[in-house]
Symmetry: C2
Subunit: 225 residues, 2 copies
């Protein structure tokens, strides 16, 4: 099998694991990353390293979400630290970001003749973003199948794959380790120091740390048995 | 009433008429235009003139659809001339273009607190593009209402308005003339000469010409009665 697929790659744990899963399933992966006015370019540097290590084609699109603002990641709004989980959708939510990302993925998929798009959204250990939920992904897929020439004229059915959607962060990491992912290449922090040191206190740092802690605990437990 | 709305504005007949309709309905319009690597910037200059004449805020986003290509409007593919209507979807189709445009409109709408987006798609006198059909728009609207913080947390229902979707080109022009649209400001040609002269033979020129011819004929008929 050598079916092409577009994989959204931010350079974090989830998208990197998703790329590993897509590649191990035999897809010829085309990684799509965005320079969207996020607060730092460290994330994008990670995405480049990962695409190179996985030896996949990568496109990096510049889109200016700072033109709209409205998020701690694209505007001069402070990234919340040590936030209690489960409360309202935080200010790190970027309006319509996954919809924009998936729309570009749809365009590239059509040009490549690909019927498969992979996105590492996760409905469990996440920040409550609405565009990470299964019902949102299903609605996007339905819309996408009405949107394109490939869908209408060539009856090509497009699938949005979300292999992580029901996994805990620990299970995502375990899956990635099984597939040989080097998580040292990935980057998660929303608000790193200028030298690239993760803050350790934003949602993303905390979820990452808890995930790795759970995996380590599991490994210790297994070793002791 | 002074509800905000985002209006997609390309600078052609349809989007300009749509802006006139949204404004006459009392919306405070925010025009969104794109520099997307289309073959010429004349269209964008028209969009700027129109936004200024209508005295509405305008954002012009740069997005590089040439990164993907796959269309006569974003790649080195010839624009078809004197094409018979009703045949297959032509090479002027830009993969996922309306999905990308509407996704950015969704982002801006959320930041503005707007629950209304206007797009001048048309399912009658058009080139057969899949992302101009009512079923596509309905699916996008459904997805959009699951995608955003505004939709999920604040229960704001987003509507995609398509006031032209069932009108003929002649009826669109008549509607615009009633609302005082100056169509001299608009630009439709896919493939103008370097000095900005429309080619007169692409789909867009032909549909525009037929529309104005029908309106003129109607006016003559009415005058003679």
């Amino acid at each position: 099998m050598s079916k092409p697929a577009v994989v959204l790659l931010s350079g974090g744990v989830d998208s990197t694991t998703t790329l590993a899963i897509a590649k191990s399933a035999g897809f010829v992966c085309h990684a799509l990353s965005f320079s969207y006015g996020q607060r730092h370019g460290i994330e994008l540097a990670a995405a480049k390293r990962i695409a190179a290590q996985f030896d996949v084609e990568q496109k990096i699109l510049e889109i200016d979400l700072r033109a709209f603002g409205g998020s701690a990641l694209t505007d001069d709004i402070a990234v919340p630290k040590d936030r209690a989980p489960g409360s309202r959708i935080p200010v790190t939510y970027v309006p319509a970001r996954n919809t924009i990302f998936l729309s570009f993925a749809l365009a590239w998929a059509e040009v490549l003749g690909a019927q498969d798009i992979f996105i590492g959204v996760n409905a469990l250990d996440y920040s409550g973003y609405p565009d990470c939920r299964p019902e949102y992904i299903a609605a996007f897929e339905r819309m996408a199948n009405l949107a394109t020439k490939a869908g209408v004229e060539d009856k090509q059915r497009l699938t949005i794959h979300t292999p992580l959607i029901h996994l805990s962060k620990a299970d995502i990491i375990k899956k990635g380790l099984e597939l040989g992912v080097d998580y040292d290449l990935t980057f998660s922090c929303y608000d790193p120091a200028p030298d690239g040191t993760p803050c350790g206190h934003c949602d993303s740092c905390q979820i990452r740390a808890a995930g790795f802690a759970a995996v380590t605990q599991d490994v210790r437990r297994t070793t002791h048995v």
